[in-house]
Amino acid sequence: TGGHTTEILRLLSCLSESYSPRHYVLADSDKMSEAKIRYFEQKRAETFSESQFSLDRIPRSREVRQSWISSVVTTLYSILYSLPLTYKRKPDLILCNGPGTCVPVCLSAFLLGLLRIKRTTIVYVESICRVETLSLSGKILYYFSDYFIVQWPDLKKKYPKSVYLGRIV
């Protein structure tokens, strides 16, 4: 969604073509991100002509301020929905930065890893907006990600297993 998409595209801006093909996963209710992504990829194709990407949509796992109990149910549903997608793409790397959409995708990849079907490296970058506290996605994925990146020193202190590189967006 919106701010998350802008941030993640900035994160991608300096990546080499080794990080290809790129598979973007969006919430079905997200109207604006697709245009931003296509624009980004179009620009990229001007420099790297072999550039490849795809877009997939999954049901939104949680609405803002949705109740705890119904969130668990909708997230479980989203995990089940994500499994065939993650299985099909078998990504080497999942990069995410906090929208609810990323939790089921990461958990489905984590599950495939436990089942020895595909070992994916999960890299989570907490949003620049998070200075003192983690988002809910962050709090969950802190335990499931291989690398958890924060952009402010207070968070590095509170979450010692995180990586601090300064502001990267």
Partner: protein
Amino acid sequence: FRFKDSLAEELQSADLVISHAGAGSCLETLEKGKPLIVVINDKLMDNHQLELAKQLHRDGYVLYCNCSTLVEMLQSMNLSALKPFPPGQPEKFASFLDKVFGLQ
């Protein structure tokens, strides 16, 4: 004017920006090098948006007030005391990932 795709044009021609504490608004404004006053909505207290605005203020990049003190701030503000906002460094992230995957 409700929901334009982008305020980039307006930002470019502005001398001063007064905004809510939304991260996108703050960062976009700072990146364009425009002086920014962030107005906090006291009624939305449980709001992680405040974290970024407060930090940016602590670091000296923005001025900060609430609705009732805005007029006073406009009268007494010192914009030259604001520090220029350095850009983020996605190249550090790329470097980090390259190391993770042994791509250096």
